[in-house]
């Protein structure tokens, strides 16, 4: 939080345009699991968000969620709900909360937390089966989370 405060100060002085990134441990959720504040201050790129969601080595959301919106990508999972219309059903802050840590919105959900670095049982180093490094990175970076949120916001029902 300190870093953020500093960056706002800098903003006020008009010297720095970008907000410092909010670290995984510092994200603030409201009572319903939503995250109001952008993790980076920079707008997300929906095109990039779509790539992240549908690429196995990135978000791999498609392994659990199907959607007409990315029907060109093969092998949609059915563990989670369809995502078409997610941008109508949820606000941007709610979607950010879902991607950062869906367990704050849905208690006990099987959906993994994509921007979280501790509190795991036997965390590993990605898919190697080996122990995680001490500074385990979140599955998605702050900007990748923003990109995914930006893409989810485009999933409207009409």
């Amino acid at each position: 939080m300190k870093r953020i405060a500093i960056s706002f100060a800098a903003l006020a002085l008009g010297t720095v345009a970008a907000q410092a990134e909010i670290a995984a441990g510092d994200v603030q959720f409201d009572d319903y699991g939503a995250v109001e504040m952008s993790l980076t201050g920079a707008p997300g790129d929906p095109e990039q968000g779509r790539v992240i969601m549908t690429t196995k080595s990135m978000g791999n959301c498609v392994s659990c969620h199907a959607a007409d919106a990315y029907a060109d990508v093969p092998f949609h999972g059915e563990v989670g709900p369809w995502l078409d219309g997610a941008g109508d059903r949820w606000s941007e802050a709610e979607l950010r909360g879902l991607v950062v840590n869906a367990k704050m919105t849905f208690e006990g959900t099987v959906m993994p937390a994509f921007y979280k670095v501790d509190g795991f049982t036997r965390p590993g180093d990605a898919y190697t089966g080996k122990a995680a490094p001490a500074d385990l990175p979140p599955i998605l970076s702050a900007q990748q989370v923003e990109d995914v949120v930006a893409y989810l916001m485009t999933l409207k029902d009409d």
Partner: protein, 284 residues
């Protein structure tokens, strides 16, 4: 759950209109060589009350082609391993010049083994998997070196021992002295491991029947092991499979042969009490 599955799978197929993995016929019945009737679906054992009503073999979730390969021993690539295991059974192995057959007559006399392991061993004061028991014979009675966990020889012997037990019901004991190990295995089954925070139950109890990417989730039963996987074209042991699943949660895995996986094997085997032994099986 079944309705949801059929409904949404059909919708996915319609929506993407692309080659999708061939769907299983979950209602098919397995008869091997037109002779051995295999129970692939039955009422769940009492200890699963509140978790599952019905237990299903992984065979039911495989594509028609993969299902068919297991219906005839000539088409089942896993049977090559079983044959190699049958030969090993007759082969003298260590400094004592003895084969398994010298003590056990023939494989058929051991048909009760595959359905009842892992099992409490009174003398050793521990729960033993088949592989641990085989190693005890190798080192204790035959003067041979212990085999590594999931070595080719081990998997071939397991395949041979499974092949003679096909059609017999899984019936591992979970009470008495095995209870403590069983409880430990149960705890592991429901623990959410790794950075993805997923337990065995999240996938195999809550989501069996659903697709996860290109994989059709089964109940993760082990009545079909050892399993010949088309993916790696060889026999795979139970604990090697566990290791792969734990790794896929972005976790630090346990090793085959570890106390954790021995306990987990007992627990997962007990979730299949009542299904037939059908291994060595074919899976993708």
């Amino acid at each position: 759950m079944k309705f949801k599955y059929t409904h949404s799978a059909a919708a996915v197929l319609l929506a993407i209109g692309l080659a999708s993995p061939a769907m299983a016929d979950e209602e098919a019945e397995l008869v091997i060589n037109d002779e051995i009737e295999i129970v692939t679906k039955t009422t769940a054992p009492a200890h699963l009350d509140g978790h599952l009503d019905e237990i299903l073999s992984g065979w039911r979730f495989r594509s028609d082609d993969t299902q068919a390969m297991q219906m005839d021993d000539f088409d089942n690539p896993a049977m090559l391993g079983a044959e190699a295991g049958m030969e090993l059974f007759e082969t003298a192995w260590g400094s004592e010049g003895k084969s398994c057959a010298d003590c056990h007559t023939d494989l058929e006399s051991l048909s009760h083994v595959r359905p009842t392991y892992p099992k409490w061993n009174e003398g050793a004061g521990e729960v033993r998997t088949m592989q641990m028991q085989i190693n005890d014979c190798l080192t204790g009675r035959m003067g041979a070196e212990a085999e590594k966990y999931d070595s080719n020889n081990m998997l071939n012997l397991e395949a041979a021992l499974s092949s003679v037990a096909r059609g017999l019901p899984v019936n591992v004991a979970i009470d008495g002295p095995a209870a403590e190990t069983w409880e430990k295995g149960k705890e592991i089954y429901y623990t959410r491991f790794g950075q993805l925070e997923l337990s065995c139950a999240n996938c195999h109890e809550q989501n069996y029947g659903n697709m996860i990417r290109a994989d059709h989730l089964s109940q993760g039963q082990i009545n079909g092991f050892p399993a010949y996987r088309l993916k790696n074209a060889k026999l795979n042991g139970v604990q090697g499979r566990f290791k792969g699943c734990v790794r896929d949660t972005r976790a630090e895995t346990f090793s085959p042969g570890s106390p954790e996986f021995i306990a987990l094997e007992l627990y997962v085997a007990s979730r299949g009490n009542g299904l037939s032994i059908e291994g060595p099986s074919v899976r993708n």
